[in-house]
């Protein structure tokens, strides 16, 4: 082991002019140690290389230059701005502007294109779907869900299935997005109206019971045959004008089909009865004026390709 008291600080590893070592000295003199010892392992106290020191000074100089040119010192509300006035936020804003500018060409094409032709142009459709997806996430997903599945049996329509209240062509979807459903803001908004047969005492309890059983039968569910038979007449008199003789529905007036497995407010006896007694409607805001023309078209194209487009 090294005895630090006996060592002179012999730090020069090997001078260019070599002093030949004393042949009798078997080992060269060792440099001093730091005095630390870990399990008998000691650490030499060698000086660091000079270039390393230079790098250390360089980093200090670099830090000073950086403080002058870039934001550095935190103040109360913001940091010193540096003479270059650089900010990452401004850089992001610039990037966004640049992308927007690049997208402008596509937005123009989207506005000029015939809606029905968007799907024929693969590049344009791809742009519309991607742009529409962004709009959908920001504006539509609150009700229709991020995946477009709506909220099952709670009045927020599923946009993925093949049933549409107001039509599933891209023109229909575009119309719905632009003006919305049952809102007073747009005179062109689609408007459906179902009477509250129970609340307004148009039908009595027994008649309602019968017509609900008829609707259950229409949709292929389990129903009381006698009650349903009695309900057929009531249905034809009160419901068929909108929902159709066979329960096919009518997208022109926004009457959903009643002979399918898809239900906006649920298809059980209790759910249907509630709908007949009180009438239930959805309401959707229009986006004309809130979104750009191109964005409305893009979101229509996006919804159209979610799986239910007609």
């Amino acid at each position: 082991m090294v005895d630090p008291t006996k060592k002179t600080p012999e730090n020069k590893v090997r001078p260019p002019e070599r002093q030949y070592p004393d042949p009798k000295a078997k080992l060269k003199q060792e440099p001093p140690t730091t005095g630390h010892s870990w399990d008998g392992i000691e650490e030499y106290d060698n000086p660091m290389p000079r270039w390393w020191l230079w790098l250390f000074y360089l980093t200090i100089i670099w830090a000073l230059i950086y403080m002058i040119f870039y934001p550095a010192w935190p103040l109360v509300t913001r940091a010193t701005s540096g003479i270059l006035g650089y900010s990452t936020r401004a850089e992001v804003a610039e990037d966004i502007d640049r992308f927007n500018e690049r997208n402008e060409v596509w937005f123009d094409r989207l506005v000029e294109a015939d809606l029905a032709e968007i799907n024929d142009d693969r590049d344009l459709q791809s742009f519309a779907v991607n742009a529409g997806a962004a709009v959908f996430r920001a504006q539509c997903s609150q009700c229709h869900g991020t995946g477009g599945a709506g909220v099952q049996a709670s009045g927020f329509p599923n946009l993925l299935d093949d049933e549409w209240i107001w039509g599933g062509g891209i023109e229909d979807i575009h119309q719905t997005v632009r003006y919305g459903i049952r809102n007073e803001d747009y005179p062109d908004a689609r408007w459906s109206e179902m009477p509250a047969f129970g609340r307004d005492e148009i039908l009595n309890d027994e008649q309602i019971d019968q017509v609900v059983h008829y609707v259950l039968q229409l949709s292929g569910q389990e129903a009381d045959g006698e009650l349903a038979e009695a309900g057929e007449g009531i249905y034809m008199d009160n419901c068929a004008s909108c929902h159709g003789d066979n329960g096919d529905g009518d997208t022109f007036v926004g009457a959903p089909p009643l002979n399918t497995a898809v239900w906006l407010y649920g298809g059980s006896y209790e759910d249907i009865r509630e709908t007949v007694v009180n009438a239930r409607f959805g309401i959707m805001p229009g986006f004309d004026g809130r979104l750009r023309d191109a964005e409305i078209r893009a979101v229509a194209a996006y919804v159209h390709q979610l799986g239910g487009g007609q």
């Binding site: 002179t8 600080p9 012999e10 730090n11 020069k12 590893v13 090997r14 001078p15 260019p16 070599r18 030949y20 042949p23 009798k24 078997k26 080992l27 060269k28 001093p32 106290d45 060698n46 000086p47 660091m48 290389p49 000079r50 270039w51 390393w52 020191l53 799907n119 869900g145 991020t146 995946g147 599945a149 599923n158 993925l160 299935d161 093949d162 049933e163 292929g220 089909p257 399918t260 497995a261 898809v262 390709q305 799986g307 487009g309």
Partner: protein, 477 residues
């Protein structure tokens, strides 16, 4: 810098090293290795390889823009990166193997830092002369001769450095095109920047930093120490034979037994590119380049002593020789359990990669089920799942794929936005396609929780087909 001062020094200037010229078996081997390795590095990007029209004809090309890696007849796509990972693992195990068998043989013979430093020292010697001339020139004041020689040396170094950085960029794009662009100053700024950075590092590391990279910067020497054992063959000084060392006086033999074989001629120290004395024993700075062996053997020949005062030696042999026993054969050191295990691992991965290379198809499919929502009930009561399918056509012609569901007649496959079940993928491209699987109302798949399904993609010329496995989510009734 005073050496007798008691105050500790905060820094130490680098002691310049002027390795003397040496010749011998290891030096010759190193020259050959240097020529071969530099040759491979500089020539490889210029080898052409015909892959047909529209495809790059460079044998080795890392095409970052199109995300392809070409190596002669092999083309690697990003999703096949495991080939590269496998090669890196092989390189790693290869290093373990060589280090446990032959010590720091990588450092001494194959490391770019060693090879380029060797080349730079060669240039230095051509221009300034051997060790003593270089020392003299280093110590003398700046004059016309020193300026001329140093200037010329730096110029040649710089040219080598530019060629080094220049060769590197050719691996990443078509070499002849890039060369034309480079000399007409129309290449991409990234190319110039890369060349500038590599020129700078080559010039600095090869010309001035040299052994300091190994001693201060490189992690490899530290790791290697953990991989060597008593059977590892390294460069060692046979101190029991050499000591006590002493000068040999002309025509006057030292008394028998009073002096070892080492005549303290400093030949081993003077040729060392790391500036160390191998007679101090194994040390961190030794890269086991073997030049001291050449130097010492030369001296031993001249004074009529047997060679091998400095030689490749295993630690266990050191003990045996000290006790006057015969050393174990080097082959026994090299072929031991540890190196065998490394070799088997290394070869195993290699064989697996080659098998994988020949088994891979030139089409590929991956299936990502859409889980938001997991299923959709359609108006007729059937249940539909959606999947994003990624089809890759790694072929140089367009291909049509016929998509089907295997072994489940109640599930129907349809393609978003198009009739039929055919999908066309352009040559050398991949396509993302939404497909739907629909299970008719009341079938087990529609009613159950999850049904495993296989989706097959068959090339319509009937040559190849592949499948992917996924699940179909039912209503869970």
């Amino acid at each position: 810098m005073s050496t007798s001062d008691d105050t500790p020094q905060l820094y130490a200037a680098r002691e310049p090293i002027f390795p003397r010229r040496v010749s011998g078996a290891f030096r010759t081997l190193k020259w050959w290795l240097l020529a071969v390795m530099l040759g491979i590095y500089y020539v490889t990007p210029w080898i052409r390889w015909d892959r047909g029209p529209e495809m790059p004809d460079q044998a080795v090309l890392v095409d970052l823009a199109n995300r392809r890696f070409f190596f002669f007849m092999i083309e690697i796509w990003p999703h096949e990166f495991y080939f590269v990972a496998g090669l890196l693992i092989m390189a790693g195990i290869g290093l373990f193997l060589f280090t446990s068998a032959l010590g720091r043989v990588w450092c001494g013979y194959a490391c770019p830092q060693t090879v380029w430093t060797d080349l730079f020292i060669l240039v230095e010697r051509w221009i300034e002369g051997d060790r003593n001339a270089r020392l003299r020139l280093y110590r003398q004041k700046w004059n016309v001769e020193k300026t001329r020689k140093y200037g010329l040396k730096w110029l040649v170094w710089l040219l080598i450095a530019v060629a080094t950085g220049g060769a590197w960029v050719f691996y990443f794009t078509d070499a002849p095109t890039l060369l034309r662009d480079l000399v007409t100053f129309s290449a991409h700024p990234v190319a110039y920047t890369t060349i500038a950075v590599l020129t700078g590092t080559t010039f600095l590391f090869g010309g001035f930093f040299r052994e300091q990279v190994c001693i201060y910067a490189c992690p490899w020497p530290r790791i290697q120490a953990a991989m060597m054992d008593e059977d590892t063959i390294t460069v060692a000084y046979r101190e029991w034979r050499g000591e006590p060392r002493g000068k040999l006086k002309k025509g006057q033999a030292a008394p028998e037994g009073s002096q070892g074989d080492c005549i303290d001629c400093m030949a081993c120290v003077n040729v060392c590119p790391m500036g160390i004395d191998i007679r101090d024993g194994q040390q961190l700075a030794c890269i086991t380049c073997g030049l001291c062996i050449d130097a010492c053997n030369d001296v031993m020949d001249r004074i009529g002593k047997p060679r091998g005062l400095i030689g490749y030696l295993a630690l266990s042999d050191e003990v045996r020789e000290r006790d006057g026993k015969e050393p174990i054969s080097p082959w026994k050191h090299v072929f031991r359990l540890r190196t065998m295990i490394y070799t088997v691992l290394w070869a195993g991965i290699g064989v697996a990669l080659v098998v994988a290379l020949f088994l891979r198809t030139d089409i590929d499919m991956s299936i990502a089920p859409i889980r938001n929502p997991t299923f959709v009930v359609l108006s007729d009561g059937s249940v539909r799942n959606a999947y994003d399918i990624r089809l890759r056509n790694m072929h140089n012609e367009p291909r049509q794929f016929f998509l089907t569901v295997a072994d489940n007649p109640s599930i129907r496959l349809t393609i978003e936005g198009a009739p039929g079940q055919l999908v066309s993928v352009d040559p050398d491209q991949q396509l993302n396609q939404r497909v739907y699987l629909t299970a008719a109302a009341g079938t087990p798949a529609a009613r159950g929780e999850q049904t495993p399904v296989q989706i097959w993609a068959s090339v319509i010329d009937g040559t190849t087909r592949i499948f992917g496995e996924t699940v179909f989510n039912g209503r869970g009734q």
